[in-house]
Symmetry: C2
Subunit: 316 residues, 2 copies
Amino acid sequence: MTKTLTIIDIAKLAGVGKSTVSRVLTDDPNVKDSTRKKVQQVIKKSGFVPSKSAQVLGGGNAKVIGIILSRLDSSSENKVISGILDVIYAAGYDALIMEGLFDVKKTKEHLAVLKKRNVDGIILFGFTDCDLTETEKLAHKVVIIAVDNDTVSSVGYDNYGIIEKAMTHIQEQGKQHISYIGVDVKDKTTGLIRLNAYLDCCKLAGITPNFQTGLLNYKSAYDLTDMVLTSETEAIVCASDTLAMGVAKRLQTLGRNDILVSGVGNTELLPFVFPNTFSIDPGYYSVGKTAANLLIQQIRGDRTVTHLTQKVSFPN
Amino acid sequence: MTKTLTIIDIAKLAGVGKSTVSRVLTDDPNVKDSTRKKVQQVIKKSGFVPSKSAQVLGGGNAKVIGIILSRLDSSSENKVISGILDVIYAAGYDALIMEGLFDVKKTKEHLAVLKKRNVDGIILFGFTDCDLTETEKLAHKVVIIAVDNDTVSSVGYDNYGIIEKAMTHIQEQGKQHISYIGVDVKDKTTGLIRLNAYLDCCKLAGITPNFQTGLLNYKSAYDLTDMVLTSETEAIVCASDTLAMGVAKRLQTLGRNDILVSGVGNTELLPFVFPNTFSIDPGYYSVGKTAANLLIQQIRGDRTVTHLTQKVSFPN
DNA sequence: CTGTTAGCGCATTCAG
DNA sequence: CTGAATGCGCTAACAG
């Protein structure tokens, strides 16, 4: 265990004062180029790595962004995270990722931990019943994804527009008998808003609504399919790709391959497995980038609480 | 911006010395119960949160474990991570997660960052060409997943046993004409070892091998399917569920629904979409838990460099 | 059991 | 441009 080096060690090795070393570490311009070079040499040769904790304590900032997501194995959240990571790494931040599992209490604990660690900012994936009061104190250090709130910045999906787009696309193909499979309306965004979008589109187009809502898994969608199916059905719009997968499977089993199925999420697998499907991209990756950029701007004070909605992109 | 509180503040509020506060923070038993209660009261009321950086610098440990994975959107890695998180959270650690993207340079950078942050330990998801020399210096603070190495602990999958199990299961059903779709043997574990397992099983059972290797995506598997298909083919073993998905799709298109397809990963979606398939579970979640436990034991000095292999569990 | 005293490793004034 | 001094918030001996 080679004793851990400090700036003092490399200051001696480089024949300079410790503050000069600190300066090159912080990219302070007030250092003669030759001196800087020399110090950097020593740092590299000695394999010295400054202690982040000391830097933070000394006055610098942690350069850490905490991310509280719902589930690591959610493909949509994964895409968002990728966007976030791309942005924050580029800006020199690291990510402290925590899994909230849709649990209010656990999420609250995570927030406390992040606070204790002096993170520079927090990105929180909202969920139904998510308690945001805790975050309000952190004000400009937080960005919420997928849930609106007045006091904290947020980046949301255009839940309404997503379904609207799917409906439009289907109607453009001359189809009029369009059913819908969604999730429980207790879920405001994926549930209620998307269902309302479907209903509004129906009214506007003179379509008689035919829908069911259930859980967010393909089994549920599979089971609900028959309930929205008539001999005339030409298409079924689903609130997510997972649901679309279940619906398409059921239709395949029934031999109703004529029915067009749409999902949300832009999962590659869906159209690969089931030809007569398409998926709307809510722009997950973009949401991640947007959220991260927003947060960084807020941290720097360049921007205050803002609410953004991601534009819907059409399937590839 | 209410000025950030310190232990001194709450020491005054509680009418005790700062070290007493520190003691209750560190669960030091040498504090009178009444005093402890009082201090805890004040801490709660004031909403005080101790600075992790200061704690680390002061001598405590960071209680952070760095995790460098390949891709956040890999479902197998996700399962492993879940296992890791369950264990380390329970042990009071937090996770600093980074994405290596199979890039040696990026991975090296991540390692440097983790070092700088004084993490207590690191879990690294190995990949082909992964350079482990950097990690060797960290010795007992590292656990590698999926790649063997003498100087650093590792937890690996039983790549050989996984395929062996699939082959056995298929043969037990009386099938003799078994083909194989895998990935390039440049990938030691998923590629070479699994292919060798297939070949060995064939030799043992007197089966004439019929295989192809390609990329790790369903399109590749889809395209390769025809090349291992004969009129007699009864089953196709695949090196992963992704490949199995491609193969099963191709077979469906060809109307060869009689052929049994096996994958690796225990993805729920596979058997849901394609009935005549099954999947071997390499024990991802368990690997995560094992790796995390191993690392924590090493951190505490309870254990030294160890190499473990996950036992294969049969599909649900 | 509890208060006092040192640092931990670094950033940041403030003088030179 | 650079070195010396001060303090960040906390833990860990050290005395009482």
